[in-house]
């Protein structure tokens, strides 16, 4: 294992300390606990709180979206592991402004169990919560079992929509409903060229031959749909877009936002070459792209590969997507 770290055990804490050193004027730890990050941007009194939680190793997911117009708080777990429910409890309490809290997170068992427990506990103290799960990865389960799908890069769009809805002072049920509507229109799928290394494990999460590509892989190295011989960028774009469109049909005149997301070790140039083809396929169908997102939004440490996310918009979702948002890791002002 070759990694720029001090030790596997201090990986998460050292990262969090780095974040506070860099952005301590914008985000803060809850009571000096490096497991809970809160926004320190100005926020409207009485707005619904938006929170998430998940394992480390995916920056900017999850905590990178804590800021203005997105998340109010994020509980931080070890690499690829859920944080404990009591950290989520502390976070939810800190993010409630009296209007309740939306818990918005990926469909993974550890996160689900711990969040459910945390919600039980705060509801006992009369803090209202709603839960919306992100299940955008079309490769992780067939359409008949779409409720079993994993949450991947599409969650960034969900954070954006939920944050904007809360800033519009919608109530908790309305924020949850519009976020769920957004997710009904968000699909993602990825490919991986090489594995990542979890610091404490010290060895690669899977192995793949030099001339092969794993199609449909999850962001923790969960097996994909198939292993193929290496493809060109255009072939990758076609494979991903075709599979997504089977699940989310688009017609001429539709508007979408597209995210091409690097998994950690894939250069921006390669992401743009894939975006070029995605753009052409959609343009041929008469589909217009609004606010393209190209870059690293949800990574898997040093994994090489990328994912494509398509988010079908209507008037309401487009307005919420375009509402201003700013965090240490995200802005839509340049898109």
């Amino acid at each position: 294992m070759k990694k720029i770290i001090n030790s596997a055990d201090s990986f998460v804490q050292d990262t969090m300390e780095g974040i506070i050193c860099a952005y301590g004027d914008k985000v803060k730890l809850l009571n000096d606990d490096f497991r809970v990050l809160l926004s320190d941007y100005p926020a409207k009194a009485g707005k619904v709180g938006i929170v998430t939680a998940g394992g480390s190793g995916h920056l900017p997911v999850f905590l990178g979206y804590v800021g203005s117009g997105m998340l109010d708080g994020c509980a931080v777990g070890d690499v690829f592991a859920s944080p404990a429910s009591d950290k989520m409890v502390d976070m939810i309490r800190a993010c409630d402004r009296g209007s309740g809290v939306l818990c918005l997170y990926g469909n993974y068992n550890g996160d689900k169990f711990n969040f459910r427990m945390a919600c039980e506990e705060v509801e006992f103290d009369d803090i209202e919560t709603e839960t919306v799960l992100v299940r955008d990865d079309v490769a992780s389960s067939p359409k008949e079992n779409a409720d079993k799908r994993r949450g991947v890069a599409g969650m960034v769009y969900a954070f954006k929509i939920a944050g904007a809805a809360a800033d519009k002072m919608l109530n908790l049920q309305e924020v949850a409903a519009v976020t769920a509507k957004a997710l009904d229109n968000i699909r993602s799928m990825g490919v991986a060229l090489s594995p990542c290394i979890v610091p404490k494990a010290g060895k690669p999460t899977f192995s793949i031959a030099e001339d092969e590509i794993e199609v449909g892989m999850g962001i923790h190295g969960e097996a994909g749909i198939e292993v193929r011989k290496m493809m060109t960028a255009d072939e990758i774009a076609e494979t991903l877009v075709t599979t997504i469109l089977k699940d989310l049909p688009l017609v001429s005149g539709d508007e979408v936002s597209v995210m091409v997301n690097g998994l950690g070790a894939t250069p921006m140039e390669e992401q743009l070459i894939v975006y070029r083809k995605v753009y052409q396929i959609l343009a041929d169908r008469g589909v217009k792209i609004v606010m393209p997102h190209i870059g690293e939004y949800a990574t898997s440490m040093e994994m090489a590969g990328l994912s494509v996310t398509i988010f079908k918009l209507d008037g309401e979702l487009k307005e919420l997507l375009q509402a201003p948002a700013q965090t240490p890791f995200y802005t839509n002002a340049n898109k």
Binding site: D86, F113, R116, M117, E120, E121, E123, F124
Partner: protein, 207 residues
């Protein structure tokens, strides 16, 4: 039921878990990871210790805090699932310092229902719930006669646990070898039966 009798009941359940610690480990080693006896013994011991010292009289707040203590001391999947049970009970008893037998039985039913909702499991899937659900149903059904209710509940839970031998596992590590699980007693269901055995022993002792 009040804070004192709750402490007595949990302590009686803890005695059952300690006596059966090795048996539960053995059962869990067949198709789990073997920590069942350890986590249940530790969890109930910690919960009983907490209740013996706690000053809180509100049953809801007390059981909620007890669930958190349990979860921290039994960090296994059944530990988390049991805590969902405590939390469901706590909600049903919030604001009460004293609960009738029927109220306590209904609170326990709310706890079991919370487990089924949060852990996404139902009767017949070879789990903890296969003993808990029939047990709590008997408690509610015979609530008019507490002495009979606790005896019948213990018998129903034991029968429910025994019935898991014929079931196919759908949850947890046991589901990886689902076919092989047929014929094997589910360790979680034995824990469920021991809970009602503990409750029955406690009630017998008080008469």
């Amino acid at each position: 039921m009040n804070s004192k009798s709750l402490a007595g009941m949990i302590s009686a359940i803890s005695v059952q878990m300690t006596e059966n610690r090795d048996y539960l480990i053995e059962l869990d080693q067949v198709n789990g990871d073997g920590d069942l006896g350890i986590s249940m013994d530790d969890g109930y011991r910690a919960a009983a210790g907490f209740l013996a010292e706690a000053g809180e009289k509100d049953l809801g707040k007390l059981i909620m805090a007890c669930g958190k203590v349990f979860n921290a001391s039994a960090p296994s999947s059944l530990g988390t699932i049991t805590t969902f049970g405590f939390m469901g009970m706590a909600k049903a008893l919030k604001g009460k310092e004293e609960a009738s037998f029927e109220e306590a039985a209904l609170a326990m039913l709310a706890g079991v229902e919370n487990i089924m909702a949060k852990a996404e499991c139902k009767v017949g899937e070879k789990t903890f719930v296969d003993a808990l659900y029939p047990g709590v149903q008997a408690l509610v059904e015979y609530a008019g006669d507490p002495a009979a209710a606790v005896t019948k509940a213990a018998a129903a839970a034991a029968a429910g646990s025994e019935a898991t031998r014929q079931m196919r596992a759908v949850h947890g590590r046991a589901a990886y070898s689902a076919e092989r699980s047929i014929g094997i007693l589910d360790g979680g269901s034995v824990v469920g039966a021991l809970i009602f055995k503990g409750i029955a022993e406690y009630c017998k002792g008080r008469k």
